[in-house]
């Protein structure tokens, strides 16, 4: 019984996180919520008697995917910064 209640709470958290990633306006928030989603998912795998998946999801889904998203966002930010720097350089303007 306790297991069912815990599982239901986690599943509710999953749905909440999924909807939150869809509606949040900041991309950084989306990525962080997605990492939380993956962590909840790894606990759900444990409750569904799939410990192999749990370890893999925690390492891959929450760790590596999150880092990849973060790095992609950072690269994108870098392009913006470069463009702004170029605009502000004296002599570049016509």
């Amino acid at each position: 019984m306790l297991r069912e209640i815990f599982l239901l709470l986690l599943l509710a958290g999953l749905i909440f996180c999924a909807v939150a990633t869809a509606v949040s306006r900041r991309l950084m928030r989306t990525v962080i919520i997605f990492m939380a989603y993956s962590l909840i998912m790894s606990v759900v795998w444990l409750l569904l008697e799939a410990p192999d998946l749990s370890i893999t999801e925690a390492a891959v889904g929450a760790g590596v995917t999150g880092i990849l998203f973060y790095l992609a966002l950072r690269r994108i930010h870098q392009f913006d910064k470069d463009a702004a720097d170029k605009e502000n350089e004296p002599g570049e303007r016509e």
Binding site: D52, A59, V60, I67, Q78, D80, A83, A84
Partner: protein
């Protein structure tokens, strides 16, 4: 200056007005929320786009989502009940894997025995998927394309971010203690794949994240000095070829009813389960190097 409703409607059609926003200032404030960049020539296009980003669009999205979920939920009625032992998924294949798996493969963990012995061909294909992904990321993110006059590539300059982890004392001190433990845990998960939950994929991912943490904290240059592009390429290729050759031998002997010289050993020992342990190590190395290369290419466009 007030516009009439018809004027507003025609402006909305042309894309210069949004009913959900009051003034143009609001519109600008809303655009600043998104990562749109600082390109001014894009403003007009984005202003047009904002017409469809209003409440109506969101409501339609939610409506579509609900209808879609409703249609799919209808199919649940025709599914067997959850958790019952009489489900059609619980068939003779599963019974065979569980009942005879330990004897035939020597692996205590049935999942590891399944993916690396009964269905090892799948896993080989998947390792090649990872390898292909690294190749694709290498092509796409390679930043040394621009070369100088004499043909030597100019490496990209990595600018420091807002938080430079290698300068932070707390991060450095904690990582110095944490990284060895993460490495040991990853190696444990990798080597015990046939005895306990874990195996090549999870162990490799943990080792890869330890490498990523090392590169983050101590700087990419120090990490690249140890794990160079050449080393990674060689190790991954050797692992993949070892996997292919070992499994070819296993398939050859199995298909021709020959006796394999690799014994399954005593289940439960660390040196048991025949080919599963070496195959786990090969897969783990491929996954680890893949994750590390992903990080390096996303971070600075090259491994070296």
């Amino acid at each position: 200056m007030r516009k009439s409703f018809l004027q507003k409607l025609s402006a909305w059609y042309k894309g210069s007005y949004d009913f959900t926003l009051k003034t143009a200032d609001h519109m600008d404030a809303r655009m600043a929320h998104e990562y749109t960049g600082k390109e001014h020539k894009l403003r007009e296009v984005e202003r047009k786009e904002l017409v469809f980003s209003g409440v109506l669009y969101n409501i339609l999205c939610v409506l579509f989502c609900l209808i879609f979920i409703g249609v799919l939920l209808w199919s649940v009625l025709f599914l067997p009940p959850h958790g019952s032992p009489d489900n059609p998924a619980v068939n003779e294949v599963m019974e065979r894997y569980v009942a005879a798996g330990m004897e035939e493969t020597g692996a205590v963990n049935t999942v590891a025995g399944m993916i690396l012995d009964y269905r090892a061909f799948d896993t080989l294909g998947e390792s090649f998927v990872l390898f292909t992904a690294v190749c694709a990321v290498t092509i796409l993110m390679n930043n040394t394309k621009e070369s100088a006059a004499d043909g030597t590539p100019i490496p990209m300059t990595v600018k420091p971010g807002i938080v430079e982890y290698s300068k932070d004392n707390i991060v450095r001190t904690v990582s110095r203690f944490l990284i060895p433990f993460i490495f040991v845990f990853g190696a444990y998960v990798l080597l015990n794949g046939h005895l306990s939950p874990g195996g090549g994929f999870s162990g490799g991912a943990i080792l890869g994240s330890a490498l990523i943490l090392y590169a983050m904290v101590y700087g990419e240059d120090r990490a690249a000095a140890v794990f160079s592009e050449r080393l990674i390429k060689t190790v991954v290729l050797i692992s993949l070829s070892f996997y292919a050759i070992a499994k070819s031998y296993s398939f050859f002997t199995g298909a021709n009813h020959l006796k394999s010289i690799i014994s399954t050993g005593t289940p439960g020992r660390i040196l048991s389960a025949g080919l599963i342990l070496p195959l786990n190590i090969a897969v783990g190395i491929v996954v680890c190097c893949t994750m590390y290369s992903f990080y390096m290419y996303f971070r600075r466009g090259r491994i070296q």
